[in-house]
């Protein structure tokens, strides 16, 4: 017998609260974000002056933080976080910096910084 207190659902029913509820029903961000796009609060917009979902995001952005990290902390799909971040960007509440997709991944100075940084952890 199913527990009468619990709704009869399984995974096929999908999430109970649709992810896009957090994004106000919008389904696509207005700015382009990568998982490694860094975002940080500009300090120009107070957290209480905006919607709670946006405020929560802003709270995580006091230091530059990646989109992936914000999504993980909030336990929201990255796409939802991208929508929220584009709102914050439009409000001037955050600044963003996206990685260069054509970055030279053979840049020796970067690889050596990687080598040094890893060696220090041993």
């Amino acid at each position: 017998m199913a527990d009468a207190e619990r709704p009869l659902i399984d995974e096929d029913a999908g999430p109970l609260v649709r992810p896009y509820m957090a994004s106000g029903g919008r389904t696509a961000p207005t700015a382009s974000f990568d998982l490694l796009t860094l975002v940080w609060s500009t300090g120009r917009v107070g957290r209480l002056a905006i919607e709670p979902e946006l405020g929560e995001v802003l709270l995580l952005c006091r230091e530059p933080v990646s989109v992936a990290e914000v999504a993980a902390q909030l336990r929201l799909p990255a796409i939802v976080v991208k929508v929220l971040l584009s709102d914050l960007l439009e409000l001037g509440a955050v600044a963003v910096l996206s990685p260069d997709p054509d970055v030279d991944t053979t840049d020796r100075s970067v690889l050596e910084a990687l080598l040094d940084g890893l060696q220090r952890r041993l």
Binding site: F33, W40, A71, I79, D107
Partner: protein
């Protein structure tokens, strides 16, 4: 700064590495072992209707899937932060790999010796995409039944792909695995980097001109004339070109005198189509305009240059020799006379990519010195 900023704030450069492997190979454990933050899982909610796009339309359909991405962070120094992403293991998330692989510096492919075949898709993906990787055999309790050589054979890995044994649960072991990857990335970087040239340097130096600026043209021509180095075929230099082929394993090679207007003449040349057959002109002649080939860059920079794959360089991929001769790889060293003038090069080219090593570069420099000595001896100036 590799970041395109909308602000003047200096943000650290993110370095992205991927941790791949079959389902259950230990990706989550590995990322967790090295990350300075709690290992986090980002969800990408995707639907079959919106594959590969930033769009939630259709969420709630039966086809909705959540992809969990493990990721971790390591602060390397004030300017660099390492991000590790565990790639989704299941085949149906292939499309996500492209976004993840974009801008990734390299990858660790975790292998479980009980299910070696599970890492084939990862190996294939990185090989096709040209993302450098190493294979780390995750040593589960009692699972390690194969030596690295057996794993290499079983996975049909090229000799240059490092294989390490690691314990994904152990911070030190996982960090050492990342170090091995980094050392591999440094050694696999284009040889031009080894010679102190980065792609950025080359792009900046030669951005505005099809051929490099050549302020020394008249000086070079004067030195060539003074040395009696004429645009004439010389069997001795043909022999040296043959010698270059033997040393480097390239397809064509030659000795190049670069004239006043960067026009090139090969007193020595070797390779298919360079010899006269039945009195007819050879298919590949001894003259070449300045906008053809890469020797003029060696002359302008007065430094040796090795390009494993000319297509890797925006500046070089459009060179006429790419289409005309199908050239894919180049190595050249300058002929520098005792007065410091660069009068030409010794060169080798290949119609396929060629992994030049430091021994090739050293050999080319040595041959260049030999040729320069012979030029002076012939001129009675040595």
């Amino acid at each position: 700064m590799a970041y395109s900023a909308d602000s003047d704030r200096l943000a650290p450069l993110p370095i992205k590495l991927l941790v791949a492997g079959g389902f259950g190979a230990g990706k989550t454990t590995f990322v967790g072992a090295v990350s300075e933050i709690e290992p986090l899982t980002t969800e990408e909610t995707i639907t079959t209707a919106s594959i590969g796009t930033d769009d939630l339309t259709g969420v709630g359909d039966k086809q909705t899937t959540t992809v969990a991405l493990d990721f971790g962070r390591i602060t390397l120094d004030e300017r660099h932060v390492l991000y590790l992403f565990g790639t989704p293991g299941q085949d149906r998330f292939w499309f996500m790999w492209n976004e993840l692989a974009q801008g990734a510096y390299g990858a660790v492919v975790l292998a479980d010796t009980r299910r070696l075949g599970d890492c084939f898709p990862s190996l294939d993906f990185f090989e096709r995409r040209g993302t450098p990787f190493i294979v780390a055999v995750n040593e589960f309790d009692g699972s390690y039944d194969y030596g690295p050589d057996e794993v290499r054979e079983a996975l049909d890995l090229k000799a240059e792909v490092p294989i390490v044994v690691c314990d994904a649960r152990d911070t030190r072991s996982a960090t050492e695995t990342l170090l091995t990857l980094t050392q591999h990335l440094i050694s696999a970087a284009p040889t031009a980097v080894k010679l102190g040239v980065t792609m950025t340097d080359l792009e900046t130096e030669f951005r505005l001109t099809v051929t490099p600026d050549d302020p020394d043209g008249s000086r070079r021509a004067a030195r060539l004339a003074a040395l009696g180095a004429l645009p004439e075929a010389d069997p001795e230099y043909d022999d040296i070109a043959e010698q270059i082929l033997q040393v480097t394993g390239a397809t064509w090679a030659g000795v190049n005198f670069v004239g006043e207007n960067q026009d090139q003449f090969f007193p020595g040349i070797a390779g298919p189509g360079t010899r006269s057959v039945d009195g007819a002109d050879p298919e590949i002649g001894r003259e070449m305009p300045g906008d053809h080939g890469y020797c003029v860059y060696v002359v302008a920079r007065e430094k040796a240059m090795a390009l494993n794959n000319v297509m890797d360089y925006a500046r070089f991929a459009g060179n006429p020799v790419v289409d005309a001769l199908g050239i894919r790889a180049y190595i050249g060293a300058p002929l520098v006379d005792t007065e410091g003038a660069t009068v030409g090069t010794v060169w080798a080219i290949d119609n396929k990519t060629h992994h030049w090593g430091q021994p090739d570069v050293d050999a080319m420099k040595e041959i260049a010195a030999t040729v320069m000595l012979r030029i002076r001896q012939k001129a009675g100036q040595a």
